[in-house]
């Protein structure tokens, strides 16, 4: 599903002395089957932005279009339920949303709310359990017996079970160990590639952005300061540093190497790209010296 924001502004507690503008005049277009990463500082409006996409927060002014759905400040909740089925949302620390007695019931909860029969939902739950890398033998256990990482997988399975077309991920790997993080990101990548899910990822991990995302949105103080493809957004490390954002580690390394005579075209952002370009330049040097 394609997502478009047109001059979206959002104010928390509008009309009170506590009013706080969290988004200001945000406009962008994300094509269908896109993979967008949203980066920016804590409090820059990233989470507020993604909550607009499934209308948990409605814009104070402006319009959001998600395929045929249009969200304006006047949209009522009744119109939004079909939208929420199509836009799956994985919040920060999603394990805190688990509540059922068994894992199967918890995963089946979402699809049943959208009208699926309990039998079908249970079957789907088992299927989703395998998708997120847990054995179906877990299905009858209580979600509260699991480890933190496993709980998160169950919570994500609960969102995937609604068969969304857009998947919003708000720092999905925060607090996971490196291996768990890798597995999680690979899972999302697989869903994106094989099922054509549109993915919106909020993250602080620049490596993940470089590795997986196709497009990047950079937020600062509620404004969208940069929107473009990854190479474009990360191509200027000085700009990123000036805005107190990290540069992917591979790019940092490449910059150090540039001082020792390496030349990059374009600047490598991932370890693979870096390795490839180093190999190529060495090959050339090798022939020069011989």
């Amino acid at each position: 599903m394609a997502i478009s924001f047109e001059h979206v502004t959002f104010t928390y507690q509008a009309g009170t002395p506590m009013a706080q503008t969290a988004l200001e005049d945000v406009s962008f277009n994300l094509p269908d089957h896109g993979y967008l990463a949203i980066i920016g500082h804590t409090g820059s409006g990233k989470s507020t932005l993604v909550q607009q996409i499934n209308a948990l927060l409605k814009p104070t002014s402006g319009t959001i279009k998600i395929d045929d759905f249009t969200i304006t400040p006047d949209t009522t909740n009744a119109d939004l339920k079909p939208l929420r089925q199509h836009v799956g949302m994985v919040f920060q620390f999603p394990e805190s949303q688990l509540f059922e007695e068994t894992i199967r019931k918890d995963i089946a909860f979402g699809p049943q709310n959208f009208g699926m029969s309990p039998e079908d939902a249970n079957e789907l739950a088992d299927q989703m359990l395998t998708t997120v890398g847990l054995d179906t033998s877990y299905a009858e256990r209580s979600p509260f017996e699991l480890s933190g990482g496993q709980m998160r997988r169950v919570a994500i399975a609960g969102v995937l079970a609604m068969r969304p077309k857009v998947l919003i991920l708000d720092e999905p790997t925060a607090g996971l160990d490196p291996q768990g993080r890798q597995e999680m990101m690979d899972l999302f990548e697989q869903l994106h590639r094989e099922q054509g899910l549109t993915i919106v990822l909020v993250t602080h991990q620049m490596e993940d952005v470089a590795e997986y995302a196709e497009q990047v949105a950079i937020m600062r103080e509620g404004r969208l300061v940069k929107f473009g493809d990854v190479q474009e957004a990360f191509g200027d490390p000085d700009w990123l540093l000036a805005n107190q954002l990290d540069v992917p580690r591979a790019a940092q390394f490449a910059q150090q190497l540039a001082k020792r005579g390496f030349q990059w075209q374009p600047l490598p952002l991932t370890a693979d790209q870096l390795a490839e370009q180093i190999a190529e330049q060495w090959r050339k040097r090798g022939t020069d010296h011989v």
Partner: protein, 266 residues
């Protein structure tokens, strides 16, 4: 949730905000006594002027107070109607049917009840809107100090109170977050019949309790790790000091008290 104004703090800079929380707590109590002593038009008039002046001094717009009354509106209406219909006989009888009497006495009384409710809610809303919850806790524990002589664990109670108050916004945030997560999974909060609404609370309450218990455990571990001991005499970071403005406010209230004594119907 953001419409619920009662019990919230509004950070502004006014005389009322700067008053000593102890003074404000005692004055609120004193004010309630005044409200119950008033019993005719003049005395209620004095109190209304008093209340409006206090609200004006706090720089908080009147709209906030009216909003604060809204959730309690039904309680007020219920009490007033009860008073109106079932007052004992007295004065002129306007209407009589079976056990229902609408009398002159009843009409006047229900009018008073209505004004009393309004005034007390306004003033207690003013107290919470202009005082930080932690200051209220500190003020209360300071006022409870004499109870130490009869072995009431005042410090522990104060600690409990300030922890409870401190975690209200945290739990509110948590609740909002969980509600959002469940809404994204297709739960409709506050829609459908009573049974459906009650059922929709389960996906909210279970995770909320889980996280509250976990948080309580973490907090107690963190407190113990930093050497907290129950019943030890504790000093305080913020020390309350009685200022001139507190005395002045008290004097104004006592003048009001005298005026009410003078004008009330004995």
């Amino acid at each position: 949730m953001s419409n619920f104004i009662f019990g919230r703090y509004l950070p502004l800079n006014s005389v009322v905000h700067r008053l000593d929380p102890r003074a404000k707590l005692m004055l609120s109590f004193f004010y309630i006594v005044l409200v119950f002593m008033a019993n005719n038009l003049v005395t209620y008039g004095i109190l209304i002027v008093f209340t409006l002046a206090a609200i004006f001094a706090s720089k908080i717009s009147l709209g906030f107070f009216l909003k604060g009354i809204r959730p309690l509106l039904w309680l007020i209406v219920f009490t007033v109607v009860l008073q109106l219909l079932f007052s004992p006989a007295g004065g002129h009888v306007y209407f009589h049917w079976a056990f229902i009497n609408i009398t002159q006495y009843g009409v006047v009384n229900s009018g008073y009840i209505f004004i009393r409710f309004l005034l007390i809610i306004m003033m207690s809303t003013l107290l919470t809107l202009s005082t930080q919850p932690l200051d209220i806790a500190t003020g209360l524990s300071s006022l409870m100090k004499p109870l130490r002589w009869v072995h009431v664990p005042v410090d522990t109670l104060a600690m409990m109170l300030s922890i409870a108050l401190r975690f209200v916004p945290t739990l509110m945030d948590e609740a909002t977050k969980i509600m959002n997560a469940q809404r994204a999974r297709g739960v409709d909060f506050g829609e459908g019949g009573l049974f459906k609404q009650a059922k929709s609370l389960i996906p909210l309450m279970v995770p909320l309790f889980m996280s509250a218990f976990n948080r309580a455990e973490d907090l107690s571990t963190a407190m113990e790790a930093r050497g907290y001991q129950d019943s030890e005499h504790r000093s305080q970071y913020r020390i309350l000091t009685w200022q001139k403005r507190d005395t002045v406010t008290w004097i104004i209230f006592i003048i009001g008290f005298a005026a009410i004594l003078a004008f009330r119907r004995w």
